[in-house]
């Protein structure tokens, strides 16, 4: 009658464990040995050395990126991106319909609801989460990004991906601190809107490759 590994881990971590399990481990040599192995493994994990770096120019590269990040986007860049995105929005909308069975809804292109109609409750957040998931699925269904990218679409796509990551980070923080539902809802709404734009641009990019 030996203890399971999850019980041994709980004992190792000082978590509550059934009294009978604890008593068994104390009296069983095999289980005590197994628990000792788990403790030893944790010690070894904590003692692992820092991962070696293969580069020596990390700070210089970071400085260069920070300089770029501080530069405001040039009018030329946006004058290229915005018309492209706008002119192909219709194509994207059509793709969204085709990507869904039945075409009853176009989840990839979720319109932001009017602020006055926003319901600050869990149902609203759940709906935004659902839309976000659907957009992720649409994105996953698109072909892989081309090996050679156009600056006009690649840069905004990279920016949007970074924005999604940042929103996810904020969501993880707000989840951990149990902030007001209004904050969580705003973040999810932002995520949906960014993902929406991202899907559109990725579709444009995929169309170009196909052509």
């Amino acid at each position: 009658m030996h203890a399971r590994i999850d019980h041994l881990l709980s004992l190792r971590d000082g978590e509550p464990v059934d009294v009978a399990v604890r008593a068994h481990v104390e009296s069983c040599g095999e289980c005590a040995q197994a628990q000792s192995r788990l403790e030893n493994l944790r010690r070894r994990l904590n003692a692992l050395p820092a991962a070696p770096s293969t580069r020596t120019d990390g700070w210089e590269r970071l400085r260069a990126r920070l300089s770029l990040a501080n530069q405001s986007p040039s009018p030329h860049r946006w004058s290229t991106v915005v018309p492209i995105a706008a002119s192909l929005a219709v194509l994207v909308l059509l793709a969204g319909v085709l990507l869904r069975d039945g075409g009853s809804e176009a989840p990839g292109f979720v319109a932001a609801p009017d602020a006055a109609s926003v319901m600050l409750d869990r149902n609203s957040i759940e709906e935004l989460r659902r839309k976000s998931r659907v957009l992720e699925e649409v994105l996953a269904a698109l072909p892989a990004r081309p090996a050679v990218e156009r600056a006009g679409t690649a840069m905004p796509i990279d920016t949007l991906q970074a924005q999604v990551q940042w929103v996810d980070h904020q969501l993880s923080v707000s989840g951990a601190t149990d902030e007001a539902p209004a904050v969580t809802e705003r973040l999810w709404r932002e995520r949906v809107e960014i993902m929406n734009t991202l899907v559109q641009l990725r579709y444009v990019e995929a169309q170009r490759v196909a052509l």
Binding site: M1, H2, A3, R4, I5, D6, H7, L8, L9, S10, D18, A20, V21, H24, E30, C31, Q33, A34, R37, L41, R42, R44, L45, N46, A47, L48, P49, A50, A51, P52, S53, T54, R55, G58, W59, R61, L62, R63, R65, L66, A69, N70, E136, L139, A140, A144, R145, Q161, A162, V164, Q165, W166, D168, H169, S172, V173, G175, A176, T177, R202
Partner: protein
Amino acid sequence: MPSLADTDLPPDTLARARAGDLAAFELIYRVFEPGVRTLARRLLARPVAAEDLAQDVFVEVLTKLGQFDGRGSFAGWVRRITVTKCLMQLRSPWRRGLRLFTTAAGDELPADAGAVPASAPDTGVDLQRALDQLGDTARLVVWLHDVEGYTHAEIGALLGGTPSLSKSQLARAHERLREFLEPSGDLHTCMPVSTIC
């Protein structure tokens, strides 16, 4: 290597960085870079991806210093950003070309995962190899729980699940690690055979 959250900055560094002092930026980078790179390396299992991600982390940290509100430690804030970015990379559909993010149900042993010889010296190399052979979720859970000190509730929330998900992943991960590290050992030493187990 201690947890990233245990890293300390000299006094006034943050204030100077917020004022745009480039030397303070560099100091933050120099102090935290090994920890951020190492954490990313452990979670992503790909050295090059970890170095790239570490750069992304510092771009975010240094351009968003104003958003650090002082609740909790700065090191904890940097760690949260690192973990979030790692998770995003593991989940991102556009980055799945190199490695699929395995789910709780799909943490299968990679096809090329050979057992680590029991005679391997304890340099950490065998342990790192064993970690790399775990599925993404299992590796993340082991590292965040056993080294970074995350609770099961925190890990469960990060994975979009419950504390039980984290606990079960941790147990499976340790079973796998033992298989990798002690291939000739008796893997059935501890089996549940009673109502207490």
